[in-house]
Symmetry: C2
Subunit: 198 residues, 2 copies
DNA sequence: GTCTATAATTAGATAGAC
DNA sequence: GTCTATCTAATTATAGAC
Protein backbone atom coordinates (compact mmCIF):
# COMPACT_ATOMS: atom_id res chain seq x y z
CA UNK A 1 0.00 0.00 0.00
CA UNK A 2 1.24 3.44 -0.96
CA UNK A 3 1.64 6.31 1.40
CA UNK A 4 0.42 9.71 0.33
CA UNK A 5 4.04 10.90 0.04
CA UNK A 6 4.92 8.03 -2.29
CA UNK A 7 1.89 8.65 -4.47
CA UNK A 8 2.77 12.32 -4.63
CA UNK A 9 6.35 11.55 -5.63
CA UNK A 10 5.39 9.06 -8.32
CA UNK A 11 2.87 11.37 -9.95
CA UNK A 12 5.30 14.25 -9.90
CA UNK A 13 7.92 12.07 -11.56
CA UNK A 14 5.54 11.03 -14.32
CA UNK A 15 4.72 14.67 -14.99
CA UNK A 16 8.35 15.80 -14.89
CA UNK A 17 9.46 13.11 -17.35
CA UNK A 18 6.68 14.10 -19.73
CA UNK A 19 7.71 17.72 -19.31
CA UNK A 20 11.34 16.88 -20.16
CA UNK A 21 10.23 15.16 -23.35
CA UNK A 22 7.90 17.96 -24.42
CA UNK A 23 10.08 20.94 -23.51
CA UNK A 24 13.14 19.46 -25.21
CA UNK A 25 11.06 18.50 -28.22
CA UNK A 26 9.35 21.78 -28.98
CA UNK A 27 10.77 24.25 -26.49
CA UNK A 28 9.11 26.23 -23.73
CA UNK A 29 6.84 28.19 -26.08
CA UNK A 30 5.99 25.25 -28.28
CA UNK A 31 5.08 22.85 -25.48
CA UNK A 32 1.54 22.94 -24.15
CA UNK A 33 0.59 21.99 -20.62
CA UNK A 34 -2.34 20.01 -22.03
CA UNK A 35 0.00 17.87 -24.13
CA UNK A 36 2.33 17.34 -21.19
CA UNK A 37 -0.58 16.24 -19.03
CA UNK A 38 -1.85 13.81 -21.68
CA UNK A 39 1.68 12.47 -22.17
CA UNK A 40 1.95 11.87 -18.41
CA UNK A 41 -1.49 10.26 -18.29
CA UNK A 42 -3.06 12.89 -16.04
CA UNK A 43 -5.25 15.95 -16.55
CA UNK A 44 -4.17 19.50 -17.02
CA UNK A 45 -5.54 20.64 -13.68
CA UNK A 46 -3.19 18.34 -11.86
CA UNK A 47 -0.13 20.10 -13.22
CA UNK A 48 -1.21 23.28 -11.51
CA UNK A 49 -1.74 21.45 -8.25
CA UNK A 50 1.78 20.01 -8.27
CA UNK A 51 3.77 22.76 -9.99
CA UNK A 52 1.76 25.99 -9.77
CA UNK A 53 2.42 27.07 -13.37
CA UNK A 54 4.27 26.30 -16.60
CA UNK A 55 7.41 28.14 -15.52
CA UNK A 56 7.76 26.14 -12.32
CA UNK A 57 7.18 22.89 -14.18
CA UNK A 58 9.94 23.85 -16.59
CA UNK A 59 12.30 24.45 -13.68
CA UNK A 60 11.49 21.07 -12.20
CA UNK A 61 12.26 19.46 -15.57
CA UNK A 62 15.55 21.35 -15.89
CA UNK A 63 16.52 20.44 -12.33
CA UNK A 64 15.98 16.76 -12.95
CA UNK A 65 18.00 16.55 -16.12
CA UNK A 66 20.88 18.76 -14.95
CA UNK A 67 21.21 17.24 -11.48
CA UNK A 68 21.39 13.83 -13.15
CA UNK A 69 24.21 15.04 -15.37
CA UNK A 70 26.12 16.63 -12.52
CA UNK A 71 25.88 13.50 -10.37
CA UNK A 72 27.16 11.40 -13.28
CA UNK A 73 30.13 13.74 -13.83
CA UNK A 74 31.00 13.86 -10.13
CA UNK A 75 30.94 10.07 -9.87
CA UNK A 76 33.43 9.77 -12.71
CA UNK A 77 35.60 12.50 -11.23
CA UNK A 78 35.76 10.46 -8.02
CA UNK A 79 36.40 7.18 -9.79
CA UNK A 80 39.45 8.45 -11.65
CA UNK A 81 40.81 10.75 -8.94
CA UNK A 82 44.57 10.49 -8.62
CA UNK A 83 45.11 9.24 -12.17
CA UNK A 84 46.91 11.26 -14.83
CA UNK A 85 45.15 14.36 -16.12
CA UNK A 86 44.86 12.96 -19.64
CA UNK A 87 43.18 9.82 -18.30
CA UNK A 88 40.70 11.83 -16.24
CA UNK A 89 39.93 14.14 -19.14
CA UNK A 90 39.29 11.36 -21.61
CA UNK A 91 37.28 9.19 -19.23
CA UNK A 92 35.10 12.06 -18.04
CA UNK A 93 34.56 13.01 -21.68
CA UNK A 94 33.50 9.48 -22.57
CA UNK A 95 31.20 9.35 -19.58
CA UNK A 96 29.62 12.64 -20.65
CA UNK A 97 29.10 11.33 -24.16
CA UNK A 98 27.39 8.19 -22.88
CA UNK A 99 25.11 10.34 -20.76
CA UNK A 100 24.22 12.74 -23.56
CA UNK A 101 23.39 9.71 -25.74
CA UNK A 102 21.13 8.28 -23.04
CA UNK A 103 19.57 11.69 -22.46
CA UNK A 104 19.58 13.61 -25.75
CA UNK A 105 17.07 15.90 -24.07
CA UNK A 106 19.96 17.51 -22.19
CA UNK A 107 21.51 19.19 -25.21
CA UNK A 108 18.09 19.92 -26.71
CA UNK A 109 17.23 21.73 -23.50
CA UNK A 110 20.50 23.70 -23.61
CA UNK A 111 19.99 24.63 -27.25
CA UNK A 112 16.42 25.61 -26.63
CA UNK A 113 17.19 27.96 -23.77
CA UNK A 114 20.71 29.19 -24.45
CA UNK A 115 19.94 31.13 -27.60
CA UNK A 116 17.74 33.81 -26.08
CA UNK A 117 18.91 36.21 -23.34
CA UNK A 118 15.78 35.71 -21.25
CA UNK A 119 15.20 34.75 -17.65
CA UNK A 120 15.20 31.00 -18.25
CA UNK A 121 18.63 31.22 -19.85
CA UNK A 122 19.90 33.20 -16.88
CA UNK A 123 18.39 30.77 -14.40
CA UNK A 124 19.97 27.82 -16.21
CA UNK A 125 23.43 29.39 -16.32
CA UNK A 126 23.37 30.59 -12.72
CA UNK A 127 21.99 27.41 -11.21
CA UNK A 128 23.35 24.57 -13.35
CA UNK A 129 25.88 25.58 -15.98
CA UNK A 130 28.15 27.59 -13.69
CA UNK A 131 29.02 24.56 -11.52
CA UNK A 132 29.59 22.40 -14.61
CA UNK A 133 31.84 25.02 -16.20
CA UNK A 134 33.75 25.44 -12.93
CA UNK A 135 34.49 21.71 -12.88
CA UNK A 136 35.56 21.85 -16.53
CA UNK A 137 37.90 24.73 -15.69
CA UNK A 138 39.41 22.88 -12.75
CA UNK A 139 39.89 19.43 -14.25
CA UNK A 140 40.38 19.78 -17.99
CA UNK A 141 43.62 21.79 -18.01
CA UNK A 142 42.61 24.08 -20.86
CA UNK A 143 44.31 27.48 -21.10
CA UNK A 144 42.09 30.40 -20.16
CA UNK A 145 41.69 31.95 -23.63
CA UNK A 146 40.77 28.61 -25.20
CA UNK A 147 38.43 27.53 -22.43
CA UNK A 148 35.10 28.78 -23.82
CA UNK A 149 36.02 27.47 -27.27
CA UNK A 150 36.93 24.02 -25.98
CA UNK A 151 33.88 23.84 -23.74
CA UNK A 152 31.42 24.50 -26.56
CA UNK A 153 33.45 22.40 -29.00
CA UNK A 154 33.17 19.50 -26.58
CA UNK A 155 29.49 19.95 -25.82
CA UNK A 156 28.55 20.42 -29.47
CA UNK A 157 30.76 17.68 -30.89
CA UNK A 158 29.63 15.24 -28.21
CA UNK A 159 25.89 15.86 -28.29
CA UNK A 160 24.70 16.94 -31.73
CA UNK A 161 24.66 13.49 -33.31
CA UNK A 162 22.40 12.16 -30.53
CA UNK A 163 20.20 15.22 -30.18
CA UNK A 164 19.66 15.07 -33.95
CA UNK A 165 19.22 11.30 -34.07
CA UNK A 166 16.15 11.26 -36.37
CA UNK A 167 17.89 13.52 -38.85
CA UNK A 168 21.17 11.58 -38.62
CA UNK A 169 19.40 8.35 -39.37
CA UNK A 170 17.71 9.68 -42.47
CA UNK A 171 20.78 11.59 -43.67
CA UNK A 172 23.53 9.03 -43.10
CA UNK A 173 21.75 5.72 -42.52
CA UNK A 174 23.41 5.38 -39.12
CA UNK A 175 21.37 4.97 -35.95
CA UNK A 176 23.55 6.99 -33.57
CA UNK A 177 21.77 5.59 -30.52
CA UNK A 178 23.01 2.01 -31.02
CA UNK A 179 25.58 1.01 -28.43
CA UNK A 180 28.26 0.53 -31.07
CA UNK A 181 27.69 4.02 -32.44
CA UNK A 182 27.77 5.53 -28.95
CA UNK A 183 31.11 3.90 -28.15
CA UNK A 184 32.55 4.85 -31.53
CA UNK A 185 31.52 8.44 -30.95
CA UNK A 186 32.92 8.51 -27.41
CA UNK A 187 36.22 7.12 -28.64
CA UNK A 188 36.51 9.48 -31.61
CA UNK A 189 35.61 12.70 -29.79
CA UNK A 190 37.76 12.04 -26.72
CA UNK A 191 40.78 11.39 -28.93
CA UNK A 192 40.21 14.27 -31.34
CA UNK A 193 39.61 16.92 -28.70
CA UNK A 194 42.22 15.68 -26.25
CA UNK A 195 45.10 14.22 -28.26
CA UNK A 196 47.96 12.69 -26.29
CA UNK A 197 51.11 14.79 -26.38
CA UNK A 198 53.43 11.78 -26.74
CA UNK B 1 10.66 54.28 -59.15
CA UNK B 2 9.97 50.70 -58.20
CA UNK B 3 8.43 48.14 -60.44
CA UNK B 4 5.75 45.88 -59.05
CA UNK B 5 8.17 42.96 -59.24
CA UNK B 6 10.80 44.83 -57.21
CA UNK B 7 8.29 45.82 -54.56
CA UNK B 8 7.12 42.24 -54.35
CA UNK B 9 10.67 40.95 -53.93
CA UNK B 10 11.59 43.48 -51.25
CA UNK B 11 8.53 42.79 -49.16
CA UNK B 12 9.03 39.05 -49.44
CA UNK B 13 12.64 39.44 -48.30
CA UNK B 14 11.63 41.48 -45.27
CA UNK B 15 9.14 38.79 -44.29
CA UNK B 16 11.54 35.91 -44.90
CA UNK B 17 14.29 37.50 -42.79
CA UNK B 18 11.82 38.04 -39.95
CA UNK B 19 10.70 34.43 -40.35
CA UNK B 20 14.30 33.19 -40.12
CA UNK B 21 14.80 35.10 -36.88
CA UNK B 22 11.56 33.92 -35.32
CA UNK B 23 11.64 30.27 -36.41
CA UNK B 24 15.25 29.84 -35.30
CA UNK B 25 14.51 31.62 -32.04
CA UNK B 26 11.47 29.71 -30.85
CA UNK B 27 10.94 26.97 -33.43
CA UNK B 28 8.06 26.31 -35.79
CA UNK B 29 5.51 25.74 -33.03
CA UNK B 30 6.71 28.58 -30.84
CA UNK B 31 6.79 31.22 -33.58
CA UNK B 32 3.58 33.10 -34.33
CA UNK B 33 2.74 34.55 -37.71
CA UNK B 34 1.61 37.75 -35.99
CA UNK B 35 5.03 38.23 -34.38
CA UNK B 36 6.75 37.55 -37.69
CA UNK B 37 4.53 40.11 -39.40
CA UNK B 38 5.20 42.74 -36.73
CA UNK B 39 8.92 41.98 -36.86
CA UNK B 40 8.85 42.49 -40.62
CA UNK B 41 6.82 45.69 -40.31
CA UNK B 42 3.75 44.39 -42.15
CA UNK B 43 0.40 42.94 -41.16
CA UNK B 44 -0.50 39.31 -40.68
CA UNK B 45 -2.79 39.22 -43.69
CA UNK B 46 0.11 40.00 -45.98
CA UNK B 47 1.95 36.83 -45.01
CA UNK B 48 -0.91 34.77 -46.38
CA UNK B 49 -0.90 36.73 -49.59
CA UNK B 50 2.80 36.09 -50.20
CA UNK B 51 3.28 32.65 -48.67
CA UNK B 52 -0.14 30.96 -48.41
CA UNK B 53 0.41 29.58 -44.91
CA UNK B 54 2.88 29.11 -42.04
CA UNK B 55 4.35 25.93 -43.52
CA UNK B 56 5.18 27.58 -46.84
CA UNK B 57 6.72 30.55 -45.07
CA UNK B 58 8.88 28.18 -43.07
CA UNK B 59 10.07 26.54 -46.29
CA UNK B 60 10.94 29.91 -47.79
CA UNK B 61 12.97 30.73 -44.67
CA UNK B 62 14.76 27.37 -44.78
CA UNK B 63 15.49 27.79 -48.49
CA UNK B 64 17.08 31.16 -47.97
CA UNK B 65 19.39 30.13 -45.15
CA UNK B 66 20.44 26.80 -46.67
CA UNK B 67 20.97 28.07 -50.22
CA UNK B 68 23.17 30.80 -48.75
CA UNK B 69 25.24 28.18 -46.95
CA UNK B 70 25.54 25.96 -50.00
CA UNK B 71 26.65 28.84 -52.21
CA UNK B 72 29.29 29.81 -49.65
CA UNK B 73 30.63 26.25 -49.47
CA UNK B 74 30.71 25.86 -53.26
CA UNK B 75 32.60 29.12 -53.66
CA UNK B 76 35.30 27.93 -51.28
CA UNK B 77 35.43 24.53 -52.94
CA UNK B 78 36.14 26.34 -56.23
CA UNK B 79 38.66 28.72 -54.74
CA UNK B 80 40.82 25.94 -53.33
CA UNK B 81 40.33 23.40 -56.10
CA UNK B 82 43.57 21.67 -57.04
CA UNK B 83 45.24 22.28 -53.68
CA UNK B 84 46.09 19.49 -51.24
CA UNK B 85 43.20 17.73 -49.55
CA UNK B 86 44.26 18.90 -46.08
CA UNK B 87 44.28 22.52 -47.30
CA UNK B 88 40.84 22.21 -48.84
CA UNK B 89 39.44 20.51 -45.75
CA UNK B 90 40.77 23.10 -43.34
CA UNK B 91 39.85 26.10 -45.46
CA UNK B 92 36.33 24.88 -46.16
CA UNK B 93 35.96 24.18 -42.44
CA UNK B 94 37.07 27.69 -41.55
CA UNK B 95 34.75 29.15 -44.15
CA UNK B 96 31.86 27.13 -42.70
CA UNK B 97 32.69 28.36 -39.21
CA UNK B 98 32.71 31.98 -40.34
CA UNK B 99 29.33 31.46 -41.96
CA UNK B 100 27.77 29.76 -38.95
CA UNK B 101 29.04 32.67 -36.82
CA UNK B 102 27.47 35.20 -39.17
CA UNK B 103 24.28 33.15 -39.36
CA UNK B 104 23.79 31.38 -36.02
CA UNK B 105 20.22 30.83 -37.19
CA UNK B 106 21.48 28.03 -39.42
CA UNK B 107 22.36 25.65 -36.61
CA UNK B 108 19.38 26.76 -34.55
CA UNK B 109 17.20 25.83 -37.50
CA UNK B 110 18.88 22.43 -37.82
CA UNK B 111 18.56 21.73 -34.11
CA UNK B 112 14.97 22.84 -34.11
CA UNK B 113 13.92 20.56 -36.93
CA UNK B 114 16.32 17.62 -36.76
CA UNK B 115 15.14 16.24 -33.45
CA UNK B 116 11.65 15.19 -34.48
CA UNK B 117 10.93 12.67 -37.24
CA UNK B 118 8.25 14.84 -38.84
CA UNK B 119 7.69 16.11 -42.35
CA UNK B 120 9.75 19.27 -41.93
CA UNK B 121 12.76 17.19 -40.89
CA UNK B 122 12.30 14.97 -43.92
CA UNK B 123 11.92 17.95 -46.23
CA UNK B 124 15.10 19.54 -44.84
CA UNK B 125 17.16 16.38 -45.21
CA UNK B 126 15.91 15.56 -48.69
CA UNK B 127 16.21 19.04 -50.12
CA UNK B 128 19.18 20.65 -48.37
CA UNK B 129 21.17 18.35 -46.11
CA UNK B 130 21.64 15.55 -48.64
CA UNK B 131 23.62 17.75 -51.06
CA UNK B 132 25.73 19.14 -48.21
CA UNK B 133 26.48 15.67 -46.88
CA UNK B 134 27.34 14.45 -50.38
CA UNK B 135 29.92 17.22 -50.71
CA UNK B 136 31.32 16.39 -47.28
CA UNK B 137 31.61 12.75 -48.34
CA UNK B 138 33.38 13.65 -51.57
CA UNK B 139 35.83 16.26 -50.32
CA UNK B 140 36.66 15.54 -46.70
CA UNK B 141 38.30 12.13 -47.11
CA UNK B 142 36.71 10.59 -44.03
CA UNK B 143 36.38 6.80 -43.90
CA UNK B 144 32.83 5.53 -44.35
CA UNK B 145 32.25 4.24 -40.78
CA UNK B 146 33.49 7.51 -39.24
CA UNK B 147 31.66 9.78 -41.66
CA UNK B 148 28.44 10.41 -39.69
CA UNK B 149 30.45 10.88 -36.50
CA UNK B 150 32.81 13.39 -38.08
CA UNK B 151 30.01 15.24 -39.81
CA UNK B 152 28.06 15.86 -36.60
CA UNK B 153 31.25 16.46 -34.63
CA UNK B 154 32.17 19.18 -37.08
CA UNK B 155 28.73 20.76 -37.24
CA UNK B 156 28.28 20.69 -33.47
CA UNK B 157 31.80 21.79 -32.55
CA UNK B 158 31.71 24.58 -35.12
CA UNK B 159 28.27 26.02 -34.42
CA UNK B 160 27.26 25.57 -30.78
CA UNK B 161 29.29 28.45 -29.38
CA UNK B 162 27.67 30.90 -31.82
CA UNK B 163 24.17 29.48 -31.68
CA UNK B 164 24.39 29.71 -27.88
CA UNK B 165 26.03 33.14 -27.86
CA UNK B 166 23.86 34.69 -25.11
CA UNK B 167 24.52 31.73 -22.83
CA UNK B 168 28.24 31.66 -23.68
CA UNK B 169 28.59 35.31 -22.79
CA UNK B 170 26.98 34.92 -19.40
CA UNK B 171 28.71 31.63 -18.63
CA UNK B 172 32.26 32.39 -19.75
CA UNK B 173 32.44 36.15 -20.18
CA UNK B 174 33.46 35.72 -23.82
CA UNK B 175 31.47 37.30 -26.64
CA UNK B 176 31.84 34.53 -29.24
CA UNK B 177 30.61 36.81 -32.03
CA UNK B 178 33.61 39.18 -31.89
CA UNK B 179 35.86 38.79 -34.92
CA UNK B 180 38.79 37.65 -32.76
CA UNK B 181 36.68 34.93 -31.15
CA UNK B 182 35.40 33.77 -34.53
CA UNK B 183 38.91 33.44 -35.94
CA UNK B 184 40.15 31.73 -32.79
CA UNK B 185 37.31 29.23 -33.03
CA UNK B 186 37.88 28.59 -36.74
CA UNK B 187 41.57 27.99 -36.11
CA UNK B 188 41.04 25.71 -33.13
CA UNK B 189 38.31 23.52 -34.63
CA UNK B 190 39.95 23.10 -38.03
CA UNK B 191 43.18 21.96 -36.36
CA UNK B 192 41.56 19.71 -33.77
CA UNK B 193 39.25 17.89 -36.15
CA UNK B 194 41.70 17.68 -39.05
CA UNK B 195 45.19 17.33 -37.57
CA UNK B 196 48.08 17.24 -40.05
CA UNK B 197 49.63 13.82 -40.36
CA UNK B 198 53.20 15.16 -40.47
C1' DG C 1 -0.16 44.85 -52.88
C1' DT C 2 -1.60 45.87 -48.38
C1' DC C 3 -4.76 46.23 -44.54
C1' DT C 4 -8.87 45.37 -41.30
C1' DA C 5 -12.21 42.35 -39.35
C1' DT C 6 -13.43 38.06 -37.86
C1' DA C 7 -14.22 32.91 -37.51
C1' DA C 8 -12.60 28.70 -35.46
C1' DT C 9 -9.25 26.69 -32.58
C1' DT C 10 -6.17 26.30 -28.83
C1' DA C 11 -3.48 28.19 -25.14
C1' DG C 12 -2.57 28.84 -19.67
C1' DA C 13 -4.74 29.55 -15.47
C1' DT C 14 -8.50 29.21 -12.04
C1' DA C 15 -12.58 27.42 -9.28
C1' DG C 16 -14.77 24.00 -7.40
C1' DA C 17 -16.74 19.00 -7.28
C1' DC C 18 -15.48 14.56 -5.52
C1' DG D 1 -4.87 14.02 -4.81
C1' DT D 2 -7.30 14.13 -9.03
C1' DC D 3 -10.65 15.64 -12.42
C1' DT D 4 -14.19 18.65 -14.95
C1' DA D 5 -15.74 23.04 -16.39
C1' DT D 6 -14.81 27.49 -17.67
C1' DC D 7 -12.60 32.22 -18.30
C1' DT D 8 -9.57 35.11 -20.92
C1' DA D 9 -6.22 35.65 -24.23
C1' DA D 10 -3.69 34.30 -28.22
C1' DT D 11 -3.38 31.41 -32.24
C1' DT D 12 -3.92 30.40 -37.73
C1' DA D 13 -6.54 31.13 -41.55
C1' DT D 14 -10.05 33.51 -44.32
C1' DA D 15 -13.00 37.19 -46.51
C1' DG D 16 -13.29 41.32 -48.25
C1' DA D 17 -12.37 46.65 -48.30
C1' DC D 18 -9.25 49.89 -50.43
Amino acid sequence: MKTRAQQRKETRQLIVEAAIRNFSDVGFHGASTRDIATDAGVTQGLLTYHFKNKEELWKAAADKIFFELRRQLEDRQQEFAGQSESTVVREVTKSYIRYTAKRPELFRFMMEEGKRPDKRMKWLVDKHLNPVYAEFTKSFGVSKPLRPHMFYALVGAASSIFALAPECKRLTGLNPLSSEAIEAHADLISKLLFPLKD
